[in-house]
C-alpha cells in the first residue's frame, strides 16, 4: 500500500490549527468543567460551541463555497485528537459526521441548503449511525422509506445518535425501494434521550413513525457504497478522538506513577507498572500512525487504501484506549475506582467509543477478508 504521501500532506497550517486547539481547549475545558457538564441537562456549553463555530471548527471540512473552512482529513484528525484529549463535551462530532455525509452524498443544491447552517454552528446536526439491533454493517438497515405521492414516509428507529435530542438535522439511512438511501431530516421525529454510559457524550433514540418528508430530503448520491465509505471515514475520525483520549489517559497514569510512593519507592519505578505503560504508549503511537495514514489517504483521494487504514485505525484505537483506561484505573489503585478520580471519565469514554462505528473484532474480520482477498471466513 504505497499510497500515502511521504509527508502525510502535513504543513504549517496543520500545526497552527493543532496548537490553537490545544490552547483553546485547555482553557475552556478543564476537568472541573467536565464535572460540571456531566450533571448539566444540556451536557455541553453553548457559549463554547459558539466560540468554536467562530473559530471555523463547525465547518472545518465543509467547502468554503458553503461557508466552511475547506480543510482536510488530517486537519480533522488533529483537531479531534485535541478534543479527545480534553474529553470535550460538544455537539461537534455529530455535526462533522452529518456534514461529511451531506458532502459525500448530497447534490449541489442539497449541499447549498444544509452545509452553511452546519458550518455557522446554527444548525445542530447529527448522524443516525445505528439502529437498536446494533449492527455496524452499513447494509443492516431496517428503517424504511415508502414513497407516497411526492413525499417519502419514514418509519423506524435510530439509536445512540450523538446529541440526538438537540439535533435539528439528522442524516440517516432508510431502505427505499429495496435499496439503502440517505435522508437529511430536519426535525419531525421523536427524540428520547438515552442514559449514555459516557457522561461527556449525550445520545438519543430517534423514532420515525410514518414521518412524511419531501422528496428532496433524499440525498441524491446516498447509496450503500457511499454510506459504507461515510461510516469508515467516520470511524477514522472517531479513532483520532480516541487516540487523544488514550494519550490523556496515559499522561494521568504516568503522573500518578511518579507521584505515588509505596514501599518507599515511586510506583513508576516498578517494571510491573512501567512496562505496561510503555506498551500503551507504543500502542498509541502505532494507532496514531494509522489515524494519520488514513487521513492522508482520504486527503489524497486513495479511497481503498484509506478505508483499510480507517479500519486499522479504529481497530487499534479501540484496543489501545481500552487497555490504557484499564491500566489507568488499576494503577491508580483504590482511588482509581472512585468517582473522585478523573479516570472514570476516560474509562467511560473508552467504552462508548469502542461500541460505535465498529469495534476491533469487527474491523479485523473485514481486514482479514482484504488480506486474503476473499469474502471472509
Amino acid at each position: 500500500m504505497a499510497d500515502v504521501p511521504g509527508d502525510f500532506g502535513f504543513s504549517d497550517d496543520h500545526e497552527i490549527l493543532r496548537d490553537g486547539a490545544r490552547r483553546f481547549l485547555e482553557e475552556r475545558c478543564p476537568i472541573e468543567e467536565i464535572r460540571r457538564l456531566a450533571d448539566d441537562p444540556v451536557g455541553h456549553d453553548p457559549g463554547v460551541w459558539k466560540e468554536m463555530a467562530e473559530l471555523g471548527w463547525a465547518g472545518l471540512t465543509i467547502p468554503e463555497a458553503h461557508g466552511g473552512a475547506g480543510l482536510g482529513n488530517l486537519h480533522q484528525a488533529l483537531l479531534l485528537e485535541e478534543m479527545g484529549r480534553r474529553l470535550l463535551p460538544s455537539p461537534y462530532l455529530g455535526g462533522a459526521l452529518a456534514a461529511l455525509a451531506i458532502e459525500r452524498a448530497g447534490d449541489a443544491a442539497q449541499q447549498a441548503r444544509w452545509l452553511p447552517g452546519i458550518a455557522s454552528g446554527d444548525t445542530l446536526a447529527s448522524l443516525g449511525w445505528l439502529e437498536p439491533e446494533g449492527s455496524w454493517e452499513p447494509s443492516d438497515v431496517k428503517a424504511t422509506a415508502r414513497r407516497e405521492g411526492d413525499t417519502w414516509v419514514l418509519s423506524g428507529t435510530k439509536a445512540h445518535v450523538p446529541c440526538g435530542a438537540d439535533a435539528a438535522l439528522v442524516v440517516a439511512p432508510f431502505v427505499a425501494d429495496g435499496e439503502i438511501a440517505l435522508f437529511a431530516i430536519a426535525g419531525g421525529f421523536q427524540a428520547e434521550a438515552e442514559v449514555s454510559i459516557d457522561p461527556t457524550r449525550r445520545t438519543a433514540r430517534l423514532q420515525f413513525d410514518g414521518l412524511a418528508v419531501p422528496d428532496d430530503t433524499r440525498l441524491s448520491g446516498g447509496d450503500l457504497a457511499t454510506w459504507r465509505t461515510i461510516l469508515l471515514q467516520s470511524a477514522a475520525w472517531l479513532a483520532a478522538e480516541m487516540v487523544g483520549a488514550a494519550e490523556a489517559t496515559l499522561g494521568l497514569t504516568r503522573d500518578y506513577a511518579i507521584d505515588r510512593k509505596q514501599f518507599e519507592r515511586q510506583i513508576g519505578s516498578f517494571q510491573a507498572v512501567k512496562h505496561p505503560l510503555v506498551d500503551d504508549m507504543i500502542g498509541i503511537e502505532l494507532a496514531r500512525n494509522h489515524v494519520y495514514g488514513a487521513a492522508a489517504a482520504f486527503d489524497a483521494g486513495e479511497t481503498e487504501a484509506a478505508e483499510t487504514g480507517a479500519r486499522m485505525a479504529k481497530a487499534m484505537a479501540s484496543d489501545v484506549l481500552a487497555r490504557a483506561v484499564r491500566h489507568g484505573v488499576q494503577f491508580h489503585g483504590g482511588y482509581g475506582f472512585t468517582l473522585d478520580c478523573d479516570m472514570h471519565f476516560y474509562f467511560k469514554r473508552a467504552l462508548f467509543c469502542r461500541a460505535m462505528l465498529g469495534d476491533a473484532v469487527h474491523h479485523r474480520r473485514h481486514l482479514a477478508a482484504t488480506l486474503f482477498g476473499d469474502t471472509g471466513a
Binding site: 496515559l250 515511586q266 519505578s269 516498578f270 504508549m281 502505532l286 473484532v361
Partner: protein, 409 residues
C-alpha cells in the same frame, strides 16, 4: 516548497527509483545452490561469505551504497533520500543483504561522527566496498543488559606505543571474518563505571586475539567469543577521547537500533518475512482438511500482525515529519527496534503454527517446508529481541527516557 520545485523533485526521485530498479533487475546475483543465511548475523560458510561480499562490492561499485557519505571518504556525497530509495528497492527486489552490516550501520556512522580525519580516510571506503569486514566487541559474559559493567581492559602498552588488550567478548557476529572490531573497553578502573570506558577501533588479525565460534540453537554458527590475551592495539586506535567510551557506545546503539539516520544504506536481511508471505503460506497449507487461510482465529492473528507491520511502515514515514510528533520527538525512533523485533518474532512463530504438523520437521528433512525456514526464523528471531539491548531493556529505556518514569533499581 513551491509546487514546481516539488514536481521537479518528485520526478527526479521517480527517475532514480526506476534506474535503481532496472539495475537490480539486470544485476541481481543468481540464486545460489547452497543454503543462505537469513540475515547478516548468521553467515557461516566461505561460499556464503564470498557470495555476499561480491554482491556488496558490486552494489558499491555501481554507486548505490554510502550515497549519503561524503565523497572524500568513498561515499556518494549525495542525499539520504536517495540512499533510502536504494534500500527500499533492494528490499522490494529481495536481493541479498549486505554482509558488512556492522561496518555500514554501526562502525561507519560513529567513525563519521567521532573519527579523526585520518580515521575517516582509512576506514570508511573499505567498509562500503566490503574489503574490510567489521565486528562489534561490546557484550561480555558478565556484561549483557548491564553493558557498562564491561571488564575488558585496554592499558597503555609497556613499549609506550599503543595499547595492550585483555578480556573476553561474546556474541561477536562475523568475528572470524572481521578485520576490525569496534571495541568498548575499560581504560581507567578507578574512574567509575561509565567514565572508565573508552572506545577503540581494534585490529582483529593480530597475535593475542582468539576467535571461538558459538553454536546457536539452530545449529548454525555466526556468533563467536573473542578472547584477548595481551593483544596489541596501535596508537591512534581510540575513537573519541579517553573516557568517552560510553557516549560513543550509546551513539553506536542508536544507529544499531535504527534510531538514527545516516547508516550508509543497507538492508541487513534478505528474507521479506512479511504478513503477505505468511498469508500466502496459509492459503497453500491444509489445516484439518481445509486451507489454513479459512481458520478465523489464524486470520485474526495474522491481521493483528498486519496492523503492526503497516503501523511500522507508516511510523517510518511519520518519523520524517517532526510536526507530527511534537510531544515525543524521539519515540518513533526509540520504539522501532522493540516493536519490529517482537513483530518479526510473532510472525515467525505464527508461520510455524500455520505449518501445522510439518512445523515438526527440521532442516535437512526432504519434507520440511522450505527447509524449515519458519522454525528457523523463529529461533533466529531471538537474536533481535535479545541482541542490541533486550526487549526488557528497551522498555526501561522507553519508560525512563520517553515517558519520564523513575529508574528501575
Amino acid at each position: 516548497m513551491s509546487q514546481a520545485v516539488e514536481e521537479t523533485e518528485s520526478r527526479e526521485i521517480a527517475e532514480f527509483r526506476a534506474e535503481v530498479r532496472a539495475w537490480l533487475a539486470e544485476n541481481r546475483p543468481p540464486k545460489p545452490d547452497f543454503v543462505m543465511p537469513q540475515n547478516f548475523l548468521f553467515v557461516e560458510t566461505n561460499e556464503q561469505f564470498e557470495y555476499l561480499r561480491d554482491w556488496q562490492a558490486k552494489v558499491y561499485e555501481a554507486g548505490y551504497l554510502g550515497l549519503d557519505w561524503p565523497a572524500e571518504y568513498g561515499g556518494g556525497g549525495d542525499t539520504l533520500k536517495r540512499q533510502r530509495i536504494v534500500t527500499q528497492e533492494t528490499g522490494r527486489a529481495g536481493t541479498p543483504f549486505f554482509v558488512n552490516t556492522i561496518g555500514l550501520q554501526w562502525a561507519g556512522p560513529v567513525i563519521l561522527k567521532y573519527g579523526t580525519e585520518e580515521q575517516k580516510k582509512k576506514f570508511l571506503k573499505p567498509i562500503l566496498s566490503a574489503e574490510e569486514i567489521w565486528c562489534q566487541g561490546f557484550s561480555e559474559p558478565g556484561a549483557g543488559s548491564d553493558l557498562a559493567s564491561v571488564q575488558t581492559r585496554a592499558e597503555p602498552a609497556a613499549s609506550g606505543n599503543g595499547w595492550t588488550v585483555n578480556g573476553h567478548k561474546v556474541w561477536t557476529t562475523i568475528g572470524t571474518r572481521a578485520k576490525w572490531m569496534i571495541l568498548l573497553a575499560r581504560t581507567d578502573p578507578d574512574a567509575g563505571k561509565y567514565p572508565g570506558l573508552s572506545f577503540f577501533l581494534m585490529p582483529m588479525q593480530v597475535p593475542g586475539v582468539e576467535v571461538l565460534p558459538l553454536i546457536k540453537m539452530t545449529g548454525e554458527g555466526g556468533f563467536n567469543q573473542v578472547i584477548f590475551t595481551d593483544a596489541a592495539m596501535p596508537r591512534g586506535a581510540m575513537l573519541g577521547a579517553p573516557g568517552q567510551g560510553w557516549e560513543v557506545a550509546m551513539a553506536t546503539l542508536t544507529f544499531e537500533r535504527g534510531a538514527a539516520e545516516g547508516t550508509g544504506g543497507g538492508q541487513a536481511t534478505s528474507s521479506a518475512d512479511t504478513v503477505q508471505r505468511a498469508a500466502k503460506l496459509a492459503s497453500q497449507t491444509q489445516r484439518d482438511g481445509r486451507p489454513a487461510s479459512e481458520d478465523p482465529l489464524l486470520r485474526d492473528r495474522l491481521v493483528q500482525l498486519w496492523m503492526q507491520e503497516e503501523g511500522l511502515r507508516l511510523g517510518g514515514m511519520r518519523r520524517r515529519v517532526p510536526g507530527l510528533s511534537p510531544d515525543r520527538p524521539m519515540v518513533l525512533a526509540l520504539m522501532n527496534k522493540l516493536v519490529y523485533s517482537e513483530y518479526a518474532q510473532n510472525l515467525a512463530e505464527l508461520g510455524c503454527e500455520i505449518l501445522g504438523p510439518d512445523a515438526a520437521l527440521w532442516m535437512g528433512d526432504p519434507n520440511a517446508p522450505a527447509d524449515a525456514e519458519w522454525p528457523r526464523a523463529y529461533m533466529n528471531s531471538f537474536g533481535m529481541t535479545i541482541g542490541g539491548g533486550t526487549s526488557e531493556i528497551q522498555r526501561n529505556i522507553l519508560g525512563e527516557r520517553v515517558l519520564g518514569l523513575p529508574k528501575s533499581k
